[in-house]
Symmetry: C2
């Protein structure tokens, strides 16, 4: 361990990507839990569900019908939070109130026709096809002149507000850079101007040297629990080569991303032997037509579970009003994830 008090003393750590802080309370992992215990949704699903609006050939809520797709399928969200044709408008009052119409596009990406699988259970070749779809969507949406930021993400599991277990993610592309990537823009830009290197290239080199928080790695990508992780088992997936977005990945790197995702997500499922809930998404260069050598492609994985399949971390009172707080240290979390098998528990001989 880098400094032994980090494993014992309450302390705060700085998030180098956002400039914000997290409170770490290592001793608190021992407190008893008397609060909400989540129920685990039934895990056996059919390969095809006639009532699922994402299965091939089925009708969706909006009335349209899905094609009989066999690999992946992308469509415009029937209940999109953003619309491409929002009229231009802005409104202010006394410099205190300020509103701007925001144009955008929301899409749904079905990862597989199979209703009963998740990204963790697809084979690497199928995940590689999802990587290709994400890349093409980022390219296509980002090429539209009104789109300056493309947010690719997945909400997995009921706990993460996911309304359908069919394996799918979403893409929200919009006119302005949202709060979170904007913070990362500023930190990465300042670092690049000062050093000529990307912040995450130096951070990754440091983590590989310290070797305390690495979960798994291959020739092209590394998964680690960031020093400043907020969620108990939060991870960050970083490309070894500093590239601003999915667009610059070589064929071998795309394969590497698929391989690393598979191995990381299997570890998550194995942690509590359930289909692990999370929200995950890429942060990459804005599509504002400018070069972004300071941006370094990465994926954040934010899983809510804390101690077991049924006990989650709540980001509530203090966290909403003050700052995020965690009990188990990032080093403890990384050690647990590192120790797990990369063979999915459902595939293991009983």
């Amino acid at each position: 361990m880098e400094a032994s008090w980090l494993a014992e003393t309450p302390h705060r750590r700085r998030n180098a990507l956002t400039g914000e802080w997290v409170l770490v309370s290592p001793h608190r992992a021992r407190r008893p839990w008397q609060g909400l215990v989540e129920s685990i949704p039934a895990e056996t699903r059919p390969a095809y569900d006639s009532t699922c609006y994402l299965c091939p050939g089925n009708a969706r809520a909006g009335g349209r019908r899905n094609p009989p797709y066999t690999e992946t399928f992308v469509f415009d969200n029937d209940f999109a939070a953003l619309q491409p044709d929002a009229p231009e408008a802005h409104w202010t009052a006394d410099g205190l109130l300020e509103a701007h119409a925001e144009r955008g596009i929301c899409r749904v990406v079905c990862f597989s026709p199979r209703h009963d699988l998740t990204l963790a259970e697809l084979d690497v070749a199928a995940i590689r096809r999802v990587v290709d779809v994400w890349t093409e969507q980022y390219r296509e949406l980002g090429a539209r002149p009104e789109i300056r930021y493309v947010q690719i993400f997945e909400n997995k599991g009921e706990l993460m507000g996911c309304s359908n277990p069919h394996p799918h993610g979403q893409i929200w592309a919009q006119e302005t850079i949202p709060n979170e990537p904007l913070k990362e823009c500023r930190q990465q830009q300042a670092y690049f101007e000062r050093t000529g290197r990307t912040l995450l290239a130096d951070y990754l080199a440091l983590e590989l040297r310290l070797d305390q928080r690495i979960v798994c790695a291959n020739d092209h990508f590394v998964a680690l629990v960031p020093f400043w992780a907020v969620w108990p088992f939060e991870t960050l997936v970083i490309s070894r080569r500093p590239v601003p977005s999915l667009l610059e990945l070589t064929d071998a790197e795309r394969d590497g991303l698929a391989d690393l995702l598979k191995r990381l997500l299997v570890r998550y499922d194995n942690l509590f032997q359930i289909s692990f809930p999370y929200s995950a998404g890429f942060h990459q260069a804005p599509t504002d037509g400018r070069p972004h050598p300071e941006w370094h492609l990465h994926l954040h994985v934010y899983p809510p579970l804390l101690r077991s399949a049924t006990i989650r971390k709540f980001m509530v009172g203090y966290e909403m009003l003050g700052m995020p707080q965690r009990d188990l240290t990032p080093e403890m979390a990384a050690a647990r994830l590192r120790a797990l098998s990369e063979v999915h528990y459902r595939m293991q001989p009983a």
Copy 2:
């Protein structure tokens, strides 16, 4: 309505207190919900529960026993996230990793000996006693030289990670100013330097003039849905007189705060006819020994429910990775809260 497109077009609004943005999608309130439906915990509780670690006279998890208190009761949290005696320490690596030991104190505030009541159901005189306790705690903790910020908050309901239904709140007091109040520090300071008035004094005057988002008010406090509200029924309670903290409130103003809290919380319970879950907390001046004329005392109330007692808003994928997003507009939320009775549904004749 200030500008009619605000009720129809997707747009973003700026939070004047933090400088951050929220995405508003007014048309999206109509989407069907197929996701998680929460269960509502049973609502009948005994006035005294022998297994509750917060009831008078009972033993707590840490082994100590509560006194037979009859009004309010404050004690040091048995599983505190912060500790007063954390040794001073800091650690950095390559300017990328940075950690500091953080001293602090965590307390629990029991609002009433009655296990079966909530703040909304206490009478105004009892709430006034809670206001007094909060004020004294802020004074006492803030007077300690190592404490620079005192966060008073309440997590209410299982949905908000509250592990015990006995009416209680918490106080986390610490060495540094956490992320959220720090953003408000910066915005309020810049505004005060520019105008000589507090940001919230001008904001409150503007809201009273526009009269679109006010929920309820008395001579001393106003509750409104802020223009930049993130949670569906989020509210902000602002003192009419610009004071930096609870310490400066007159006797009549403390009564006013108790009265307004009662009326607001009863409206919340009446919205879906359940004991309404929320996290709430005061933001007030740091206790760093400097004068803070720019700070204007306020209370944030963040309730998670969206459409009914069982359907909540999830702040997940896009919200975690991009920015907060809401469906129903703040104006619609304010109109609904405004229309509700101030007589608690449990007290209404059937």
